[in-house]
Symmetry: D3
Subunit: 229 residues, 6 copies
């Protein structure tokens, strides 16, 4: 039975639980199973660049060790450690930011990102340039909220206003830029009639497809070459 | 039970069968089911721009009529009728070229495309510019083969040489640029150690995720606005 | 005597007449003549993507059949059927959106587009990305008007305010994004002192040049290769 | 009667004559007339950047003084003095490089440029970046010839081989990157079946359209603002 | 002892003095010395394109003649004559606009430019496109001031407001878009906590490094080839 | 006396010595002094992504602790830890890859990079996309050598052949893509007549300028905001 390991790079078990809830609809009888892993040594939240860099090698250690998995998902919207994890294993490693963006682009022309803090806006701007998707980004708007605040049901009105602004600026798809906002997805879709992407779900769905299709033979890009270099 | 409709825009039943085989691993007990639909009025193969344009409105008619489906997949690498189908329904409509490219970009830095004929190279070049993914395309190399020839097991050596060239040019992921080449996926992955994307499978996986996650509430970007315009 | 066929893809004879008026200054004694053709089977106006796709093959039929013409002009700002028409004939086929944009770029650094409806803004955004001219577009602003409304003399004040906004955003040339607004060209130029492009005139002028220069020997890009593919 | 002034920035009368021949088919009875002007103080050929810069202000003096013209054409593929001429007059000023490129893009997807010397390749590369057309340039290949050599009928075989290379690299339209190669246009089109653009003709055609359409009211972008700044 | 020649292309000695003050901190005992050169034939200020073009060849004459210098700096934010000067000598020639931008990009992700007049905004927009740095420019905002006004201490409040706007739009580094605003650098940095670049200083620093490192052997790109072409 | 701290992220003292030699010409009597720091806990060479990520936080610790420095230079061509170091201090932090590229772009139109191994080519390709300089990169060609091999005098012929290839592809400036190749700079410049950039020297020169100009008041972009986020 294929196994998908979703790793929460922070040590907040509430976040891990929220991610487990998010991917639950993707787990079918007889299909690949999702296992959650909380990085015990991680920060309570990945917010600064120091947090991002601190978890890279611990994440690498996990993907190098867990040879029993078909796909790994790094469960943080800053995609920490993605390159180094891909270097360490032939098993596919997915980042939830990348999966959210590319899923959005499969559904509509331009996406808008509901971010948390202004500092993360700059980090995502740089990442979108590296991913070469800037031209398809209609905007990145911060909520000026912490992860914990954004998860609360009471955050919905502010999330809605932010989404409305992005739609007015041309967004045809909305991406929720953090792991804890899955609960806002359905109300936003109902209200605005556009697809709303929860990044953990986007990566979970991608992982499910890879696991079902690959058997054991799909491997990561040029891993051998990288390992040998 | 959610249903995913995979539409073959050409009237070649062999191609429909090949696509059914390609998505078969994605159909689980208790999960969304894949239904294949062959466009009886379609050309025997979609090769020219006239073929692409001829099937657009018939595809639209199908997605407008089939209100019992959770996701539609247009099963041709030229993504015929994608815009017009999205205008006609709130149900998500996926194109296999878009899904192949965005799945590839979730797995590696640059992709290489094994195309069929030189004429399609120009069509894909234009599409990649519209999708804003040109900078992440390492190359598009034609096999100088027809759809039927490319499907044959005997095509593998030429496909391999083409993939090798693209990898030498920096491709970390290979996309098979037609619906009928799924059989070459596993041997290519085994030989070159890079992910190889069959476009029908990429779209099927994306559709599976959408169907599982959406229930009935996910809808297409701004469909109401489009319908009203 | 060389002949330029200007095809109105909608069935509205008023629009055909307006286009005839627009190109009238380009018809000289002894020079190529403009013949207008109204697509009787076309919609009353090309507004939705369904309208765009519906006229593609009928347009193709015309350019394939009319071997007596030196240049074809597709007279709709969405450039419907451009690719498929080019595939069907060696005679040059011009789209008025392409000609408007490229004429604008010959006259100033960045252009602004006065569009009709928000839905067309998204279509043009995608087209400009495909044409790789996004970086030279200062903005696309919709009038929130129908074709019929935009043609009226009374529309001028709103067109002026829209043009002013685009100029404030850096536009050095204004493009009127529909076939019926030629009458607003002179007042706008007089008021704002920038070139204003009527797309039918831009394509007509381009066609005139091609007809005068080509004799019979200029042919469409790689038509043979395309036809043979 | 509208007048189009075509200015040869070099002092070589043979080149002026060749340009006169090139635009001759564009002069119709009752239509705008082409007047040729040779810059007596210009270099014998514009090849170095020093040549380009030396003619800028003399060109500006001409366009500022000649208030009897409807359009000016700067007849050198390096488009010398284009910005400064546009600053000096409200009358449209066209550059033949810009017109050649934008005419090419109205006819096919990507263009290839037959250049003269390697040094000009670098100048055109920079210009194409400034024009934001790099992504639609399939290649720039130098003939390693002088202006005089490229004009000779004997240059045709080398021009053909160069064009063939560019077509193999994806060019759908060929631009002749100098004023003197108009004679090669028809044979190249006949042989390769793609449009071939002579830059003087492209600008002449564009000028003809502007002259016919504008009457006296079309003016240059933001000339007042520029003059006042 | 290596010598760096800083050329003021305008004839305003106050500007030359301000530039001398700006680079004074870069002159060390035993290190390369800065010599200031005022272009006596230059305009009192380089504001129009005509001003830019008028000084190109006089600047070229200076760099061609002064064989005793290790580096040349063109001291005007429009980088007049940069290409033609580089063609004329093997000695490195730096433009202060280029140096300001590339220094800014070494310090932060995106820069904002405090420009003088709206007309210069268009010139810089085009230049940034040619330099391929548009995507890293957060904005260009004009002060609506002359050079003389912008130099005054009293200009600081308006400069500050402009910088604030650019920072709000995402600028992490501020560039002062003229030679005379060095005095505003320290107060701006103190107030906003972001690096502020004076272009003359940026080029002076770059020149200092080149002079110290090169001895006599560093030469300009492909100068021989250019001279021979 | 201002101090510039050049940090070698690997533990190889030979590399530190080579970098000290490289920046020695930049240290003047009475000017800022260069202090070298070897990261004792670093790998013997930074080659894999794991090496890059392993040194990020140790580098951050150094820049956070050393409040006595005016500028920091991260001495590795992969620019490890650049973002996290900038987050930790208001003092400017320079990466030698960024400085090499931006210095090159101040001297010529396009640069070519002499890289070490194929794996680093992919890393630099991604970085150039993030830096938005891809369009000005004429090529990246690997030597297929280790750091130690590339430093050897005997490597010169292979470096020369690689540089020649890049120049043939349009490079006007050559960047040596590792810290140990400074010795090849002068012979390459002498042979090919183009500027050759040693990255440590480029960053050292940039640091020298910042130190001389800043006094204590220049600070890092938005450091307060980042620290507070």
């Amino acid at each position: 039975m294929a196994k998908i390991l979703v790793i929460n790079p922070n040590s907040n078990l509430n976040v891990t639980d929220a991610m487990a809830d998010a991917v639950a609809p993707l787990a079918l009888e007889g299909g690949p199973q999702f296992e959650m892993h909380t990085l015990a040594t991680g920060p309570i939240g990945v917010q600064s660049q120091a947090d991002v860099d601190a978890v890279a090698l611990p994440l690498r250690a996990i993907v190098a060790e867990r040879t029993d998995c078909s796909v790994f998902v790094i469960g943080c919207f800053s995609d920490p450690g993605l390159a180094v994890c891909r270097e360490a294993t032939k098993t596919p490693v997915l980042g939830i930011r990348e999966c959210a963006v590319f899923t959005a682009l499969s559904l509509g022309d331009r996406f808008g990102l509901v971010a948390l803090a202004p500092a993360s806006v700059k980090r995502h701007t740089r990442a979108f340039r590296e991913m070469a998707v800037s031209e398809r980004c209609a905007g990145i708007t911060p909520l000026h909220m912490s992860v914990a605040e954004a998860e609360e049901p009471g955050a919905l009105p502010k999330v809605e206003r932010t989404a409305q602004t992005l739609i007015d600026d041309g967004a045809e798809v909305i991406i929720l830029g953090c792991t804890g906002m899955a609960r806002h997805r359905a109300p936003l879709e109902a209200r605005y009639g556009v697809p709303v992407i929860d990044p953990t779900q986007a990566a979970g769905a991608q992982a499910l497809g890879l696991a079902l299709l690959s058997g054991s033979e799909t491997i990561r890009p040029a891993a051998d070459a990288l390992l040998a270099s």
